[in-house]
Symmetry: C2
Subunit: 418 residues, 2 copies
């Protein structure tokens, strides 16, 4: 496919990602689908690295997802290989064979066991991988390995792109005792993004030492508050994968208790990295021109609030109204109404940015459509909805993020595969 | 708003709808929102008419829906008034006042009780109706009443349009004993169409005599197989209403038993009218260039099949691929996977028209992408999916209908309200 111009919501530059001890990276242009760009990424982790992962909820997962699910329960991994351009999904036994071939070949290159190698693939569904070309590329890929550094993270973030218009990376550091703990993440994703880990890959690396079970718990929590709170088009891919590797090279004593202050500190930094990456994915939503935050309060429960928030964020009518900078808040009422969760029509409050459109189930006194429209002219939009059910301490709330729906989405998705 | 050209999927002409005894119709241009066109429709039914209705599942229903729900339980009605351009939804007490004013005024004009008058409104949400203009128009509207006839049905179908690009009507006759029973329906709907009676209004008239409880049961069955099986954009309106009036003027003995052969015969004709109207609504889907039938078989239950079928029919990625005539069946796999219903990835079969793309979880032997693309070039598309769960007698199946997702959808929905 042809290269798209960067999203108007893209950050101006790729962030300067600090090295993470115990992480080596490599990329290679195997020409599996794309020409003249790297399409393979390899990360190799020091011995003793623990790993956690979360995967697509799709019932038709890709072969690499099957492979990862089978092997991640050990809590240990030494490498991950990712290819872009072909998802190796819905490829039956041939897909499983390609996955195993990749793991076995890289394991041989690195003197590892195949089950220590995790896999990810992203791209077109239903086409088998060119095994010969793939296998022949893994040696050169391995020979490109170097210690992680700002430029190798950026190269890796570029190698995993498909329809992404910009490479995505984020990092945080946190001081635990006398040690600086670093977390770095790279991600890809632009369309087919919806809750439950839509089409996205995210690889996270930290130099902290963390027990594998604790690591898994922290990752699951973090994913639920970040990647699972974003939507571009409500579609869910067969390939979504988040992997978090903890190499333990920074010298901090191992975190083994989820309730410890060290664990809380790490969780906070991990959440910040994941939320940053999740927002970047929305900013690269196919055809996006507006970044939209939807905040729902006053619901029966947090879960009810989340369902209502996604009903708004996934509504094509809401998303086209935002694209048109049209303060058509009636479409928000529609989306609340169809969500199927308790809402009190006659106590509904709605805000577009700072402007309150509806109060107590009717247009708000003094509502200025001009003011709401002015907010919609910005590129960062906030929709607030209180559904009027809260009483006393019960006040279910949720925040989700999405983008607008534009001609660009149609252009891109009526053209992919070419 | 400006008049849109007729959908390329529109029928060439409005059907010739036969008169229905006991039904009088009127239209009037009240100028409530639209200029130079009728925006009010009145139907008056003979004494003794029974009525059944189904309404939106939205939890923020419009004032007219509230009114109908309150009064339809009597099983009797003598009139229905519909305005287009303003949905009278999310208008609080003012909306309830407008609804009551309409019913009271028309009741006075016709010497009826207000509760014998049903109401429907369609259009913009969140704006109050101009009560003075509305009330002043109801007298002239009533004075336009005439017996139902092909031209008055067509005028009525036009008066209830909002973004519809063509008027929708359908009829069937069936011989019960020595009597000809006629069923005529008119409908409106184009966007915001999804299961549970999305943004659509449908008014059905028959000259059969049918017990109100039996009538309600037949209508509910019929709606579930027609309007609740179509989707344009997955959005659900606050106003959806189907009303079925049985005047009993044709002389056939009253149908009082749902299990009788007369009831079955009527049900069949009613289903045909509703399916015809439902298909017309999809054909008027905003921006639609293709009519798409999605057939799912081999599911755990009919309900599971329906959820999977809607997952496919609502997927923006599937719908944009169809618009692009791109045989990207991987997106169908994606939609099956995200539906959350049991499916056997390794036994999945997929057809695009007559061409089998996938068999047993991989690309089908001899699959011709050219043949699949050829099918997609037509304007009537059929997608078939067998999800591979069926065993023995268990073979859940469902058919739903949708349209493609094009630039036209964005154009229309980024412009509505103007």
């Amino acid at each position: 496919m042809s290269e798209l111009p960067p999203s108007p919501l893209a950050p101006t530059t790729f962030p300067d990602l600090p090295p993470v001890g115990g992480v080596q990276l490599a990329t290679f242009a195997a020409g599996l689908r794309y020409q003249n760009r790297a399409d393979l990424m390899l990360a190799v982790l020091d011995p003793g690295t623990t790993v956690a992962g979360t995967f697509t909820s799709s019932l038709c997962p890709s072969a690499p997802v099957d492979w990862c699910r089978r092997h991640i329960s050990s809590g240990r991994a030494r490498a991950v290989v990712c290819n872009s351009g072909n998802a190796n999904a819905f490829t039956g036994k041939a897909g499983a064979t390609s996955a195993e071939l990749t793991a076995v070949t890289i394991a041989q290159e690195l003197s590892l066991k195949p089950e220590e190698v995790l896999l990810a693939s992203t791209g077109v569904i239903g086409e088998t991988l060119a095994n010969d070309a793939l296998a022949a590329s893994l040696g050169p890929l391995r020979r490109n390995l170097r210690d992680s550094a700002p430029e190798s993270f950026e190269a890796a973030a570029n190698a995993i792109r498909t329809t992404d218009t910009f490479a995505k990376g984020a990092s945080r550091t946190t001081e635990i005792g006398s040690h600086t703990v670093t977390i770095v993440g790279i991600a890809k994703g632009s369309g087919m993004i919806a809750p439950d880990m839509a089409t996205m890959l995210s690889f996270l690396f930290t130099d902290a030492a963390i027990d594998a079970k604790v690591l898994q718990s922290m990752l699951t929590t973090s994913v639920n508050q970040s990647y699972n709170r974003i939507t571009v088009d409500s579609d869910t891919s067969t390939s979504d994968t988040t992997l978090l590797f903890a190499t333990g090279t920074c010298g901090v004593p191992p975190i083994q208790d989820l309730a410890s202050s060290e664990a809380h500190q790490f969780q906070e930094a991990l959440d910040a990295v994941n939320l940053d990456l999740a927002h970047q994915i929305v900013r690269d939503g196919e055809g996006a021109t507006k970044f939209v935050e939807v905040v729902v309060t006053g619901a029966e429960s947090n879960n009810a609030a989340e369902i209502i928030a996604f009903s708004i964020a996934n509504s094509p009518l809401v998303k086209t109204a935002i694209a048109a900078e049209d303060a058509n808040w009636g479409r928000i009422v529609m989306a609340v109404g169809k969500a199927g969760q308790r809402a009190d029509r006659d106590r509904l409050d709605i805000w577009i940015g700072p402007e309150q459109c509806a109060k107590g189930g009717v247009v708000a006194p003094g509502y200025s459509e001009a003011a709401a429209t002015e907010h919609l002219r910005q590129s960062e939009i906030r929709l607030g909805v209180d559904v009027g059910i809260s009483s006393g301490l019960a006040n279910g709330r949720a925040t989700v993020w999405t983008c607008d729906l534009t001609h660009g989405y149609i252009d891109i998705n009526a053209g992919y595969r070419s």
